[in-house]
């Protein structure tokens, strides 16, 4: 017992280095195998360049860019679609008012994407490899959003015809669609309660169930992350409410509807 105390006293603190500073250092000056850029990387780049130049040339030989009649503000076409990469947002117009689908969601998507590096609490896990199993939550969130974006694009692009009605790709657009079932709205109080519960439970339950996760992220990170996640999840929730329960708005006020 006495020996140990003596040893302790002989130790002196020389310096303190923050863990992330060490990691940063290791990242910038890695001790690992390197090869010459010329020819190892440049040959690959040249091959990729040649292959994809050919792909572009062949693609533009077999598919002509569309050109319709001269623009005519007086003649609305049967289906007015946004460019394909924005069709997902247009598809959301079925479920949300334009201010949400066209303005709020794109803004949240961009801000959310930009925040990713600052919301991820772990500085090294999975860096430099496809270690999806090690970052299950992060990967789930990203893949879910990524897939949903392109799924909405696909539905909007291939399954929507005149009047934005649902048509299978091989179905004729001339076949009339039955009038849509009457939609109802939540009463105002119930709607506000539903939304409040949705966010409070969505933020509360994981905080209690996964306390490690909660503390690892910290208060601010946790709330931003979960609010973004729950807002993303509002899209499938709203699709479900509309398609299964025929509910148009969760909250309806004279000023705005959600």
């Amino acid at each position: 017992m006495n020996d140990k105390i003596e040893i302790k006293e002989r130790l002196r603190l020389l310096t303190v280095i923050r863990e992330e500073a060490l990691l940063r250092q290791r990242d910038i000056y890695p001790r690992e195998e390197k090869v010459d850029t010329w020819p190892n990387l440049l040959v690959k780049e040249l091959i990729a360049l040649l292959i994809f130049t050919i792909v572009l040339v062949v693609w533009s030989l077999v598919q002509d860019a569309p050109l319709e009649e001269l623009a005519n503000p007086g003649l609305t076409p049967k289906e007015a679609k946004a460019p394909w990469y924005f069709v997902g947002l247009q598809e959301l117009l079925v479920y949300f008012d334009p201010w949400i689908a066209g303005v709020v969601f794109p803004t949240i998507i961009l801000v959310g994407l930009a925040l990713i590096p600052y919301l991820d609490p772990d500085p090294i896990k999975g860096v430099g490899r496809y270690a999806i199993g090690k970052r299950k939550f992060a990967t789930f969130c990203f893949i879910f959003g990524f897939t949903m974006w392109f799924a909405l694009v696909a539905v909007g692009q291939y399954f929507r015809g005149p009047g934005w009605n649902f048509y299978l790709p091989w179905e004729s657009w001339d076949s009339p669609k039955e009038v849509e079932v009457a939609l109802t709205n939540f009463p105002l109080v119930a709607g506000i309660a539903f939304l409040a519960c949705y966010y409070i439970l969505g933020l509360g339950i994981p905080a209690v169930t996964f306390q490690n996760f909660f503390w690892r992220l910290g208060l601010i990170r946790y709330h931003i992350t979960m609010i973004l996640l729950m807002t993303m999840m509002l899209v499938p929730v709203k699709i479900l409410l509309r398609q299964v329960f025929h509910i148009r708005y969760i909250v309806q006020t004279p000023w705005f509807n959600i």
């Binding site: 503000p73 709020v104 860096v127």
Partner: protein, 244 residues
């Protein structure tokens, strides 16, 4: 014969000798190759790691820039002429259709490749320190790519472009507070977001010239600037990410 050797040497300073020093020298003294470090990590150049997506985006961008420049020669941003220019491209100008197709196809390829590049960077956790801000710049590049594609959509001035842009800009009208039809709107239809975007209350000549400027000068300029920053920061972070 010496004069030709002298010319060749003045262009490509390093000759054809293959030695470690020459390999390094060749990359360092070359203007376009100096974007790369002289030596790269072995992990980073695996095709199955990056799938060449970042580099392919550069290729697609350069392709749209070259074809776009050529298209500018045959195009007038005037509502009375734009559509006729399109018909000329299709029927009169040699390889006009091919030029337009190549421009369109490269732009589509770029939208796809930018998305996949973002997916790749996410899955390999490459946004983590010290590359956080480079990811943010990447999000900026994604936005620029979408906006470039969108502004280009109007230029042919046919039904397709007119109504697609109508759909897109109607969204601006519904912006909360600053859109005329949005919730808590404070601005009328002649001063709101949509008006600023279109240069009027409907898509017309002012809109075409705005979109033309944004498509040919404003957005490509911003994109090139962000690209330069993006590449610079990749280099300053010690090259692309690798297992720690």
């Amino acid at each position: 014969m010496n004069i030709f050797i002298q010319m060749w040497r003045s262009l490509f300073r390093t000759g054809v000798t293959d030695s470690p020093v020459h390999r390094v020298f060749r990359v360092v003294v070359n203007f376009s190759l100096h974007l790369h470090p002289a030596r790269v990590s072995k992990n980073g150049i695996k095709t199955t790691y990056t799938f060449c997506l970042g580099g392919l985006n550069v290729l697609f961008f350069v392709m749209t820039a070259i074809t776009g420049g050529l298209l500018m020669i045959y195009y007038t941003p005037d509502v009375d002429k734009a559509y006729a220019n399109m018909l000329d491209l299709e029927n009169v100008i040699p390889f006009g259709t091919f030029l337009r197709n190549l421009h369109r196809v490269s732009a589509h390829a770029m939208v796809i490749a930018v998305s996949l590049h973002m997916l790749r960077v996410f899955l390999t956790a490459s946004y983590k320190s010290p590359r956080e801000f480079n990811w943010v710049i990447g999000v900026g590049l994604l936005l620029m790519t979408f906006l470039l594609s969108f502004t280009g959509y109007l230029l042919p001035w046919d039904q397709l472009s007119y109504w697609a842009v109508t759909v897109g800009t109607t969204m601006a009208e519904n912006t909360p507070i600053v859109g005329a039809k949005g919730p808590f709107s404070v601005l009328g239809p002649e001063e709101d977001m949509r008006f600023i975007l279109l240069g009027g209350t409907s898509i017309d000549q002012p809109t075409l010239i705005r979109f033309y400027f944004a498509h040919c000068v404003g957005l490509p300029g911003a994109l090139v600037g962000l690209m330069a920053l993006h590449f610079w920061r990749v280099r300053k972070a010690g090259g692309i990410s690798r297992p720690l």
